[in-house]
């Protein structure tokens, strides 16, 4: 099995012990690694039934797929669990070198089970596993945590994934962040780690990562590098990072403005929009770099800004949109500060921005009063936003309600506010706009983790910057049927990429999946073509679906917030448009062969995919 170490490290936090499990090759072939983690979770749920996401029975499974550490551009590590936001599948992909170090330590993944009685951190250095006390780290922000652990472990190039105070305080959208400042941001994986009282995992290893055919892989990597350099999409990302997309997206109508209630930001005048990657590059010294020391990425969309004699992470597009346009903040230095605060506290910037936007609308409409918050929650007020970020992380005052995410908070504040609470299955809606790109609305509605743009980056297809002729999408999908088909195809492909540990940016609009299939073969030795690649991703989608159904998912939850489907905007680039989500979901059920009453997949479909579950 090239590309795999063949072992999983299982840590029992309740007993403070660990064991090493061999990988099941049949599952590896069926699902690759992210899918493997979902299968482990599925088996747990089958045995135990519904699992409390913050209880002892919820595992946190961290896996690095076969592409990780092979010197391909971009590398992702999957964090898989039951989400404390949805109660269904939670997963989030972390870029950078953390997964590479897991593999260099001789493992394909780490499973955290049980709950520790007191704070700990886990050190894995050249195969030696230690569960160390972390009382002295509990309460610390992430940068202090990294510094302390780096000093204590005393190994150069140690890779650390940690939680901040938000994870400790079980904020349901807390993230896990690495000492390369790459984030497993979504679905509250940081809260699950916090519930286990695991402050951090520090990994260093020197093992060689095997691949089946190194020579052929090197040639494919070279060709891939050339494709990255030629691709307009990749070169634009290289120049400006994802932050460079903000101005384009504002003029495209593809951002949230005022909690999705407005269609115009700063009169749509680019000269007035100060939070774009391009303007920030004019104001601050900045640089692009690979997302990790072990990831020789050509695109280098990860950018840093130089401030106060140090380099800091440049806010990403999603952060600039959710904490910028969404709450009417147009101040680059404020965005850098808020972004930094979220990273230090361990908060997902997407959910944080969505929650604050919703709270500001509650305030404007009188559902939250000044005395509830202790201050005014005015649109565009940087100080209020920053206060809320801190209050959420520490669960102080109204922050205690907001830290549960919009789906729970709206029921707590007033049921009427649920009408404008932006979430799907409990996960807050990211920046891409379902009124502009209807396919992304369907991606949000039918993703197995809730509203995530990374479960099907169909806005790239609708815009025409990334097409998939090898799967019959040679032009941007226009009609409803084509749009729905493009969602199904893209969901499957995103699942494949997540499972092998490949970043999506150097793929969509850069190389085709015939190439990806060749890479898969040269690494793993598993013969595959583009059809088998998409089949693997499709298989994971159904496995995830079955997991969620076993956790109680209902058909009615495959829906978008009504704001996107029933409230057209009267201004801006998406004026008059709504997402026809009900018609799209109906077609989606048809293409996915899902029962319209129960949401269960047709058993024949499961058999066709070689799935031995759900039958």
């Amino acid at each position: 099995m090239g590309g795999f170490a063949g072992k999983i490290l299982e840590i029992d936090l309740t007993r403070q012990t660990y064991s090493i499990q061999s990988l099941r090759e049949d599952w590896v072939r069926l699902y690759s690694m992210m899918g493997y983690a979902v299968r482990l979770l599925y088996e747990d749920v089958k045995q135990k039934g519904r699992i409390d996401p913050l209880g002892s029975e919820n595992p946190l499974i961290i896996v690095a797929g076969p592409f990780v550490g092979t010197y391909l551009s971009g590398s992702k590590t999957a964090f898989v669990t039951i989400s404390p936001l949805s109660g269904y599948l939670g997963k989030s992909m972390m870029a950078g070198s953390f997964g590479t170090m897991i593999k260099k330590s001789g493992y394909d993944g780490i499973v955290l089970r049980g709950l520790s009685a007191s704070p700990v951190y886990i050190s894995i250095v050249n195969g030696t596993v230690e569960i160390r006390p972390a009382d002295h780290l509990w309460g610390k922000k992430t940068s202090e945590t990294f510094k302390s652990i780096e000093e204590e472990v005393g190994v150069k190039n140690l890779k650390i994934a940690a939680i901040g105070p938000a994870g400790e305080n079980l904020c349901r959208f807390a993230c896990v962040i690495s000492n390369e400042y790459r984030v497993a941001g979504r679905t509250g994986v940081g809260a699950v780690m916090g519930s286990k009282k695991v402050k951090a995992i520090a990994v260093y290893g020197e093992s060689t990562i095997s691949v089946t055919d190194r020579k052929s892989l090197s040639e494919l990597i070279r060709k891939h590098g050339e494709a990255c350099l030629k691709s307009p999409r990749a070169s634009a990302l290289k120049s400006y990072g994802t932050a460079g997309g903000l101005v384009t997206y504002v003029l495209d109508g593809n951002v949230p403005i005022k909690n999705w209630s407005k269609g115009v930001f700063e009169d749509q005048d680019p000269a007035r929009i100060k939070i774009t990657g391009q303007v920030m590059q004019q104001i601050y010294k900045s640089r692009g770099k690979p997302c990790g020391t072990e990831v020789p990425c050509i695109i280098q969309c990860h950018r840093e800004v130089y401030l106060d004699n140090a380099w800091f992470k440049h806010p990403e597009f999603e952060t600039l949109a959710l904490l910028g346009t969404n709450i009417l903040i147009n101040d680059p230095s404020a965005l850098i500060t808020i972004n930094r605060a979220c990273d230090e506290l361990g908060l997902d910037t997407i959910s944080t921005g969505a929650v604050i936007g919703w709270a500001m609308e509650c305030y404007e409409r009188g559902y939250i009063k000044k005395y509830d918050a202790g201050f005014e929650l005015k649109w565009g007020d940087v100080e209020s936003a920053l206060k809320l970020v801190n209050m959420i992380a520490y669960r102080e005052g109204i922050g205690n309600i907001l830290a549960d995410g919009v789906a729970r908070a709206c029921k707590n504040i007033h049921p009427d506010t649920c009408d404008f609470a932006p979430h799907v299955k409990g996960l807050e809606v990211p920046a891409h706009h379902p009124r502009r790109y209807h396919t992304i609305g369907l991606v949000y509605a039918t993703s197995n983790i809730g509203a995530s743009h990374l479960q099907g980056m169909t806005f790239l297809l609708e815009r025409g910057v990334a097409l998939l002729p090898e799967y019959g999408i040679g032009e941007p999908p226009k009609g409803l049927e084509d749009k729905v088909k493009s969602v199904v195809i893209t969901q499957n492909l995103c699942n494949f990429l997540d499972s092998v540990g490949m970043c999506k940016f150097p793929v969509f609009g850069v190389i085709d999946f015939d190439h990806v299939a060749k890479v898969y073969f040269t690494i793993t030795g598993y013969s595959a073509n583009k059809d088998e690649v998409i089949r693997l991703g499709e298989r994971i989608w159904y496995l995830e679906r079955l997991l969620n159904l076993n956790l109680g998912l209902k058909v009615l939850e495959d829906i978008l917030p009504s704001r996107f489907s029933r409230e057209p905007l009267n201004e801006g680039p998406v004026r008059g448009s709504v997402c026809p989500i009900e018609d799209m979901v109906k077609l989606f059920y048809k293409y996915r062969k899902l029962d319209v009453e129960s949401g269960y997949p047709d058993p024949a479909k499961l058999r066709e995919l070689g799935l031995d579950v759900g039958l």
């Binding site: 634009a236 997309g245 003029l251 680019p270 990657g277 391009q278 969309c301 990403e316 940016f505």
Partner: protein, 79 residues
């Protein structure tokens, strides 16, 4: 705006540096697709950019009138 009997001109403001390009065409109306082709001849790769006016990105089929000022934006899509 005419500039001679069958020559027209429009202005293209480049984002973010603010450079102003004057583009000559032989028609009072030019599609965005054709405008990007004309710009490509000046070294601006057409797949890398979009044209915007009046606060929104124009589709390839939309026409721009001579004398108008439009915005040329790098097409950065990710995140």
């Amino acid at each position: 705006m005419t500039n001679g009997e069958d020559s027209y001109e429009l202005e293209v403001l480049v984002y973010p540096d603010g450079r102003l390009l004057k583009v000559k065409t032989n028609s009072p109306l030019i599609s965005v697709r054709d405008l990007l082709k004309v710009l490509e001849e000046t070294g601006i790769p057409r797949d890398h950019y979009v044209i915007a006016a009046e606060g929104r990105i124009l589709s390839m089929e939309e026409k721009v009138q001579a004398g108008a000022r439009v915005l040329l934006l790098p097409l950065v899509m990710g995140g």
